[in-house]
């Protein structure tokens, strides 16, 4: 991908706009799959149409845990992409 650095200004802008679009799409998909995951794990009964306190807590913790997990994975992933050594 070194070729990209030699591109003229308008091409860099086009590239930046493509990256932007991918990031927005990706974060919207991530939002949807986070809801799906935490809903599937936490909601088991359908006797009422509102979440009870326990379900709400479960969904919040699930989503928070997933976001923290995702940040940690992202740090490790970046290290591996750059070939840094990691502790055992």
């Amino acid at each position: 991908m070194d070729d990209l650095e030699n591109l003229p200004e308008e091409d860099k802008q086009r590239m930046a706009s493509m990256i932007d679009r991918l990031q927005v799409s990706d974060s919207l998909k991530m939002y949807n799959s986070l809801v799906e995951r935490c809903f599937s794990h936490c909601i088991e009964n359908f006797r009422r149409k509102t979440l009870d306190k326990q379900e709400e807590t479960c969904v919040k913790r699930c989503a928070e845990k997933y976001l923290k997990h995702s940040m940690r994975v992202s740090m490790r992933f970046a290290e591996l992409n750059q070939g840094s050594p990691t502790p055992d």
């Binding site: 679009r21 927005v24 939002y31 986070l34 935490c38 359908f46 149409k49 979440l51």
Partner: protein, 88 residues
């Protein structure tokens, strides 16, 4: 087609962005609807398939499942810093 910044496709930047955002919002809604439909099918529909109609229990389960899923979308959206529940 006169004046102002233009994208690689020759459209004014602002209008192009409106199209892009509209498309991303629609893709987001389709994805949300599909995940919601699949998840509530798993949660509510009996696996025996004894008949092809939905029975009373399944129907009320679906209504509550959709309502609870929607609330989860709101909770996670708030955590991610989204302005309106279920929206972008």
């Amino acid at each position: 087609m006169s004046g102002g910044l233009r994208t690689a496709d020759g459209l004014p930047v602002e209008k192009e962005q409106i199209f892009r955002m509209a498309q991303q919002e629609m893709e987001y809604r389709v994805d949300l609807f599909n995940k919601l439909t699949q998840t509530c099918f798993e949660k509510c529909i009996e696996r025996k398939y004894k008949e092809s109609d939905l029975n009373v229990g399944e129907n009320s389960c679906i209504d509550r499942c959709v309502a609870k899923y929607w609330q989860c979308t709101g909770i996670v959206g708030t955590m991610l810093g989204s302005s309106k529940p279920g929206g972008m």
